[in-house]
C-alpha cells in the first residue's frame, strides 16, 4: 500500500470503525472566559516493532492506527496533538518511519517528545532528522509548553557498550538490571531555567516528558534521577502540569503546584509497581489504578487521552478500550487531580485491585 493510500485508508476506516463506538462523554466546563479554553489530544508509547522486511508487529500497529483514527474524530477539534515518546521499540529507522507514517494520518499539528526506545540506538539522530530538536518550548493561547528529553542518562553508561544495539536492547528491557536511570541532565536544566526566565509566574506551564518527572519506581525507570531539580525550576509558577508517557498506565499526582498526569500506551499496558513483590515503590497515593487488563482483548487497558486545559489546569479524559473511560480532572477546591468516578475509597471496583 502506498503512503498516500494508507493514509486515506486510515482516515476512511477511522470514520467507519469509530463512528459508532467513540465515546464523546468528555467533560464540559464552565469558564470565565471561553476564549481562553482549548483542548488537545495526547498519544503515547506506540512501540512500533519491526519483525523483518516489511513486517511489523500487528498488535502495536493496530493500537496506533486506532488512536489516530479516533483522535481525528474528536469534536470539538483539539488544537493539536502531543506525542509522549516511544514511537519505536528498538529505535531503528524502519520502526520510526513506519510509526511516523501511521501518525501522518493525524489531521492536527503534532508535537513530539523523545522516548528511550527512540533514542538509545543512535542517540536520537534519526528521530532528530525527522522531527527536530530533542527539547524545545512553544506558546499556545497564553500557555507555555515545554517539551523535555527526560530519558538521558550517565555518559559512562552510554559509552560502555560494544554495539549501539546492545545498548538499545538493554535500555529497552524495562526490568533489565543493567539499564540506567533516566535524567534531564545539567545542560538541559540550564536551558530550561533560561527558557522559563521570560515567562510570567502566572502563565500556566505544561511540561511534556517521556519519563515521570517524579520518582515512583526505580527498577522500571518510572523515575527521573534529577526530578527534584526539575521540579524546583517549575515551583515558582502558579500552575504547572507535567504530562508523561513511559508508564503505560494511568497515574496522577500533585506535588506542590505541580500536577502530574500520565498517558496510557497505544501498544500494551504495564503492571503497577506494587505487583512486583521484591522491591518497594513510591506510587502516588492519589492514583486510583486502572482496571487489571484482560489479555484476551488485546486493546484492553490501552488507549489515548483528550485534555481540556481550562484556567491553566488539565482535565484528562482517558479513552480506554474495553473498559469504562476515566476522567481525571483538576479539583480547584482540593488543589489536586481527582478521578471523577472512582476517587473515593468506597467507590473503587474489584478490578482496580492489583496483585
Amino acid at each position: 500500500m502506498s503512503k498516500f493510500n494508507r493514509r486515506d485508508f486510515l482516515k476512511g476506516s477511522g470514520l467507519l470503525a469509530a463512528g459508532s463506538v467513540l465515546p464523546m462523554s468528555l467533560i464540559e466546563l464552565a469558564f470565565a472566559d471561553a476564549n481562553d479554553n482549548f483542548s488537545f489530544a495526547y498519544i503515547s508509547d506506540s512501540h512500533i516493532q519491526h519483525i523483518r522486511g516489511t513486517q511489523f508487529v500487528r498488535n502495536w500497529d493496530r493500537g496506533l492506527m486506532r488512536a489516530v483514527a479516533e483522535t481525528n474524530l474528536l469534536d470539538p477539534k483539539p488544537d493539536f496533538v502531543l506525542y509522549g515518546g516511544d514511537i519505536a521499540q528498538l529505535g531503528s529507522k524502519p520502526e520510526i518511519d513506519h510509526g511516523l507514517e501511521l501518525l501522518s494520518g493525524l489531521r492536527y499539528k503534532t508535537y513530539f517528545a523523545l522516548g528511550e526506545h527512540d533514542y538509545y540506538l543512535d542517540l536520537g539522530e534519526y528521530w532528530k532528522s525527522q522531527l527536530g530538536p530533542h527539547y524545545y518550548s512553544f506558546d499556545h493561547k497564553g500557555v507555555h509548553f515545554v517539551v523535555l528529553n527526560s530519558i538521558l542518562t550517565y555518559d559512562d553508561w552510554i559509552n560502555k557498550w560494544p554495539t549501539p544495539m546492545e545498548r538499545m536492547v538493554t535500555m529497552a528491557g524495562l526490568d533489565n538490571p543493567n539499564g540506567s536511570p533516566f535524567m534531564v541532565g545539567e545542560a538541559q536544566r540550564a536551558w530550561l531555567a533560561e527558557d522559563l526566565k521570560r515567562v510570567p509566574k502566572e502563565t500556566p506551564i505544561v511540561v511534556l516528558s517521556h519519563s515521570p518527572l517524579q520518582k515512583i519506581f526505580r527498577n522500571w525507570n518510572f523515575w527521573t534521577e534529577d526530578a527534584e531539580q526539575v521540579q524546583a525550576l517549575l515551583a515558582p509558577f502558579d500552575k504547572v502540569t507535567v504530562l508523561y508517557g513511559h508508564v503505560h498506565q494511568i497515574q496522577y499526582n500533585q506535588i506542590g503546584n505541580i500536577s502530574f498526569n500520565s498517558a496510557m500506551a497505544t501498544a500494551w499496558p504495564w503492571p503497577y509497581p506494587s505487583t512486583y513483590a521484591q522491591a518497594p515503590n513510591l506510587m502516588p497515593k492519589l492514583t486510583v489504578p486502572m482496571n487489571r487488563a484482560d489479555p484476551f482483548f488485546e486493546r484492553d487497558a490501552t488507549g489515548w487521552q483528550f485534555i481540556d486545559l481550562h484556567s491553566g489546569n488539565a482535565d484528562v479524559s482517558y479513552n480506554l478500550y474495553d473498559n469504562t473511560n476515566r476522567t481525571v480532572a483538576f479539583n480547584a477546591q482540593t488543589g489536586q487531580p481527582q478521578d471523577q468516578m472512582y476517587q473515593g475509597e468506597d467507590s473503587r471496583i474489584p478490578a482496580q485491585m492489583h496483585y
Binding site: I51, D175, P295
Partner: protein
C-alpha cells in the same frame, strides 16, 4: 533372572553399608554442600527462565514475555490453578503461558514437560517468592 535379582540385592546392601559408614549421609540430614548444590540447580533453571523471558525465540514476531510482564509481574502464579474465565475451565499456569506464546507471541505451544516451560515457571514463581498462596483467586 534369580541371579540378577541377587546381584542387585548384594549391590544395594553394599551401598547401605557404605552410607552407614559415613555419618554425614543420613537420609534425614542435609549437608550445607547439598543445600547449596540443590539451590544452585534450582537457580540455574530460574536463570534460564529469566533468559527465556527476554528472548525472542519463544514466538515468531520478536515479542518477548518481559515486554508486558517486567519481572514476571502480573502473572499471578500464586493464584493457579484457577478458573480462567476466558477459557471456561480451571487451568494450571503453564496453559496460560502457552496462551501467551500462541497469541501475543504468535508462536507454537510447548509441552508441559518442555524444559523451557519448566524454566519459565521456575522464574515466574521465583519472582513471586514470599507471596501467600491464593489458588483460585481473581
Amino acid at each position: 533372572m534369580t541371579n540378577t535379582k541377587y546381584r542387585g540385592l548384594a549391590v544395594s546392601l553394599a551401598a547401605l553399608v557404605a552410607i552407614a559408614a559415613v555419618p554425614d549421609a543420613n537420609a534425614d540430614e542435609f549437608t550445607e554442600a547439598q543445600l547449596q548444590r540443590w539451590q544452585q540447580q534450582f537457580m540455574d533453571v530460574v536463570n534460564e527462565g529469566r533468559r527465556l523471558w527476554g528472548t525472542e525465540g519463544l514466538g515468531t514476531n520478536r515479542l518477548v514475555c518481559g515486554q508486558c510482564h517486567p519481572n514476571a509481574s502480573n502473572t499471578h502464579p500464586e493464584t493457579y490453578p484457577k478458573f480462567q474465565k476466558q477459557l471456561g475451565r480451571v487451568v494450571p499456569i503453564w496453559e496460560m503461558i502457552n496462551w501467551c506464546i500462541r497469541n501475543p507471541l504468535e508462536g507454537e505451544a510447548m509441552n508441559a514437560a518442555d524444559p523451557r516451560m519448566i524454566a519459565l515457571q521456575a522464574y515466574i514463581n521465583y519472582e513471586r517468592r514470599g507471596v501467600a498462596m491464593a489458588p483460585g483467586k481473581h
